[in-house]
Structure formats: C-alpha cells, structure tokens
Symmetry: C2
Subunit: 107 residues, 2 copies
C-alpha cells in the first residue's frame, strides 16, 4: 500500500507511457521487474505504483522519491538505465514531476 | 491521506491538465473548490489528489471512484458540469482511466 499525503514531502513522478496495442502487458511486466529487482533497492526510493490503462494503450507509473537528487542518482545507475532503455524500446513516455497540493479522501 | 492499493478495487482516473504559463494556480484553486464543494459529496467519490507540476504548466488530479457508473453519474450532475466547464476554459485535459496492477512502497 502506498499513500498520497501533502505532508509526506516527496518528489512525485507521474510517468505516462503509451504503447502499441498488444504491448501493454509486456510493459507492465517490465516495470514490475524493474521495480522489484532494482528501483526499490536504490537510495531514496519511496514507492512505485503501476497502473494499467483501461483502453489498452496506456501504462502509468505513479512514483515517489525522497528528492530530485535521489531520483537523478537512480538515472546514473547502470541497472536502472538498462530497465529504462528496455521501456523506451517498448513505449513512449511523458514524465511529469510534481508535488501534492492536497489529498482529499473519504476512505 | 489517500491510499493506492491493488485490493482497493476502485476506478482510478489520472487527469493530466496542461495550462498556459501563469494559469496553474487558477486551475489548482478551481479543482480544490470543485472537490470540496461538489465532488466529495457525490455518491461513489473515494478521493481526489491534486498535484502541481514543477514546470508550471501541468496539474494532475489522481482521482478514485467506486466504479465507472458512479463516475458517469457525477458527469450528469449539474454542479459537477459547471466545475468541469470552468476547468475546460482554463486548460486542456487528458484523462486516463486505469486500474492498479501493483503498489510497491517502502514507507
């Protein structure tokens, strides 16, 4: 379980991937493996939340890192680079770096 | 605080808004008001999580609803329609309906 909170004070990266029809499952598998094998073990990792778009062409990773510095350090890690290169071969990605303004939840 | 969980069994809508530089604050305010005044009181609302893009041109609402049916019912609500019309006048939006495949978190 991951949490979204204003006071959590993390860097949020919402990465929107677009894939050719039929490749969504491959990208989901790749992102799950990248998370389990590499990302979650790197300094500053907080969470990765993989979503499957209902239309079959999108995958969204809602990710949290302690800071931009730890995110940038991940980008210099050779194992992480190999995962990102594999993802880039499968999909176009549109990363949005952001911060939580407000989380309103009733459950 | 909101949670992202595979077992939560909600419809997730990630809505990516793009605004002209200088209008980000206006859109954030509008979405917060829409959430507080209308959305959170409608049947099936679970959460709305408003994010400010660090580049100043994006706003993301990571929203959860009980089901597509309750989301569609919201779209027929006159108050909700007024908020959505105001948002559309300020920003382009790209909604992605999705479901959680996995949430991996270390805190």
């Amino acid at each position: 379980m991951s949490t979204i909170e204003k006071s959590k004070n993390v860097l949020t990266l919402v990465n929107i991937f677009t894939v050719e029809p039929g490749r969504q499952g491959d990208l989901v598998k790749l992102l799950l493996e990248a998370t389990e094998r590499t990302m979650r073990h790197l300094p500053g990792f907080v969470s990765a939340n993989i979503h499957r778009g209902l239309d079959g062409t999108r995958v969204i990773n809602y990710a949290q890192w302690e800071s931009m510095a730890t995110f940038e350090a991940m980008h210099r890690n050779a194992d992480a680079q190999a995962h990102m290169k594999a993802a880039a071969a499968l999909a176009q990605s549109e990363p949005v770096f952001c911060e939580v303004v407000e989380a309103v939840s009733i459950r």
